[in-house]
């Protein structure tokens, strides 16, 4: 075998090893991301159950668990951001991503219900937003709506935003959609029970919120 041919084979071997190593490293990192999401999700499950239990135990003073609820909502939001990033990396048809999205949606529904119960029991008026989107390519404005909501949630941390993939095949989510009477016209918003569909601008979206709720000096609780 000539020197050139030998070198060509060695170079091919090196290239394949490099490409394989890169593919393995990317796969490893993506799995590490999913593993971290699973860990966060486990912790959030425990926190949700704990809050639910706390709420039941403190029947005489349920409002003591309100602070924990706010923290939980904020952690849920962070989890949602990470899940969204992982979905972009791995694709929305990845089995693990779908499983995590289902569990995330369940946690959101649980948190939403707890928030409603707290509001009734403690006489507080949180601003809750149920946001329904689709990433199946049939909702051109969903990215804009999602970004605008991220901005509002970042600017007004007391705002409780719950995002749901409208097409996710999950019984509890379908029930929520039925109970809240959300039409398949996306993006859809249910802001403190009031429905609105479509997204034009941040300004128009803000008009859907109760007066004074989007103000840093006014506590939405």
């Amino acid at each position: 075998m000539s020197l050139a041919a030998r070198n060509a084979l060695i170079a091919l071997f090196i290239t394949l090893v490099l490409a394989g190593t890169v593919a393995y490293a990317i796969n490893y990192l993506n799995r590490a991301r999913v593993a971290e999401l699973s860990t966060i999700e486990d912790q959030l499950s425990i926190d949700t159950l704990s809050l639910d239990t706390q709420f039941s135990l403190l029947e005489t003073a349920p409002c003591d668990s309100a602070a924990s609820s706010t923290t939980l909502t904020s952690e849920l939001a962070d989890f949602g951001n990470r899940l969204s990033y992982a979905e972009n990396q791995l694709g929305n048809d990845d089995a693990q991503v779908i499983r995590l999205k289902e569990r995330y949606s369940l946690l959101e529904i649980r948190d939403y219900l707890i928030t409603k119960r707290l509001a009734q029991a403690c006489g507080i008026k949180p601003v809750t937003v149920l946001y329904f989107y689709s990433n199946s390519g049939d909702c051109p404005d969903c990215d804009k709506a999602g970004y605008a909501l991220s901005y509002l949630r970042n600017t007004f941390p007391a705002l409780r935003v719950y995002s749901f993939d409208y097409n996710l095949d999950l019984g509890a989510l379908k029930t929520l959609i039925t109970v809240e009477k959300v039409k398949n016209s996306l993006p859809a918003f249910v802001i403190n029970g009031k429905h609105s569909y479509g997204f034009t601008s941040l300004e128009d979206l803000e008009k859907q919120f109760p007066k004074g709720s989007l103000s840093t000096s006014t506590s939405p609780r």
Binding site: A11, T15, L18, A19, I26, N30, K144, Y147, N154, E203
Partner: protein, 408 residues
């Protein structure tokens, strides 16, 4: 997905260079000692309007460490219209220098006129904007100890890089030193550059002398040598410095000439070399990769431009109406979770890292003095953005049959 094959081939090519660099023939070339042989040598300096630099070029040739009786310098004025004749006249009385003035006919005619004047064993060419180290000729001559070698190239660097563009070219030339040294060990060179390449005079005459080569006569001659089955060597310690274009416009013009010349030669008389196993690594790897590099350079640039424009428009559209401070100012917190990892990005980073290594290796091999850091920085910042312009211009010139002037 479109970019993956190009990146894969780039990694493969660079791996091949690294492996060959460590192979025995390349190692042997690096340990080669200067030859004691002193064949007669003629250095031809073709000039066309080179009044500004011809004096210094000639001085550097006269300073070469070589027996005076064995070295002649032939200055050929190819019908200059500036003060080149006056600048040359300064050397008229020098015993080693001969001056020839002829009507303008192009570089190949100037070289042939110079060759016709001499009976030297070896003839070399030095562009009139280039300067040599005193021991460069000794290094070159050593390559001709191998009877299979009929031409030899030197290690080129940029003469006193002044601005960021010239530093960038210095890094690129350093990369070229590594590539030339590596592929010479497998007889894979297809250019014998104007600055200080040498030939056996008999072989040049046997091949019919220099010809018009689409403004790349040095490439045409090298391809003809390869086609005839001869060997082209490289002297990695024969340092030669050449002036570099200092503006983007001049650089693009120079490189358009080089690339269009390459394409015209390749698709003209020398298409038979491409993919030809008889020509070994030149036919099977070097020439196909050089052609592919042009295609991929244009393709990747257009693809990147398209993706950048599309992503920017999407990002702007999503952020429309959102306060600037949230939408556009960076969030200063690192979270490994969000660290971008894609196959494309990491492979591209590997290609860049190996390229930097090959630039540094080039400087080390040739022992070229000076600081390469400004070159590396400017190479990383600029090269990828400028190259596509001359690739596109040269390709379009060839496609539409457009010819341009020589000068930049």
């Amino acid at each position: 997905m479109l970019a993956y094959p190009f990146l894969f081939i780039a990694v493969y090519f660079e791996s091949f260079v690294l492996v060959t660099l460590l192979s025995k023939p390349a190692r042997a070339a690096r340990t080669r000692t200067k030859s004691e042989a002193t064949p007669s040598v003629a250095v031809i300096v073709p000039c066309w309007n080179e009044a500004a630099t011809i004096g210094a070029t000639c001085e550097s040739l006269l300073a070469l460490e070589y027996p005076k009786g064995k070295l002649e310098i032939i200055l050929v004025d190819d019908g200059s219209t500036d003060a080149t004749p006056e600048a040359m006249a300064r050397f008229a009385e020098h015993p080693q220098v001969r001056i020839l003035r002829k009507e303008n006919g192009g570089k190949h005619t100037a070289l042939n006129a110079g060759i016709a004047l001499t009976n030297a064993d070896l003839v070399g060419c030095l562009d009139a904007d280039s300067f040599v180290e005193p021991d460069a000729l000794r290094e070159i001559v050593a390559c001709f100890d191998d009877p299979k070698i009929v031409a030899t190239t030197a290690a080129m660097s940029i003469h006193k890089p002044g601005n960021i563009l010239q530093h960038m070219q210095n890094a690129e030339y350093s990369f070229g030193i590594t590539l030339r040294h590596t592929f010479a060990s497998l007889n894979g060179l297809y250019v014998t550059p104007g600055p200080f390449s040498f030939y056996r005079r008999n072989t040049v005459n046997e091949l019919g002398g220099f010809r018009y080569g689409h403004q790349t006569e040095d490439m045409e001659m090298a391809l003809r040598i390869q086609k005839a089955g001869y060997g082209i060597g490289n002297a990695p310690y024969a340092r030669v410095y050449t002036k570099a274009p200092g503006t983007i416009r001049a650089l693009i013009k120079q490189r358009t000439r080089w690339i269009s010349g390459f394409l015209r030669n390749m698709f003209g008389d020398y298409r038979g070399l491409i993919g030809n196993r008889r020509h070994g690594v030149l036919g099977m790897l070097v020439l196909p990769t050089a052609l592919l590099a042009i295609v991929s350079g244009i393709g990747l640039f257009l693809l990147t431009l398209f993706l950048f424009a599309r992503n920017t428009l999407t990002a702007l559209s999503i952020r429309a109406g959102i306060p600037f401070s949230y939408a556009f100012l960076p969030k200063m917190q690192f979270d490994w979770f969000y660290f971008p990892t894609s196959f494309y990005t990491i492979l591209a980073v590997i290609v860049v890292i190996i390229s930097i290594s090959l630039i540094v290796v080039g400087k080390r091999i040739s022992k070229t003095p000076g600081n390469i850091m400004p070159g590396l920085v400017s190479y990383l910042l600029l090269y990828g953005f400028i190259v596509p312009f001359w690739l596109i211009r040269a390709t379009s010139d060839v496609a539409f049959g457009k010819r341009r002037g020589w000068r930049y």
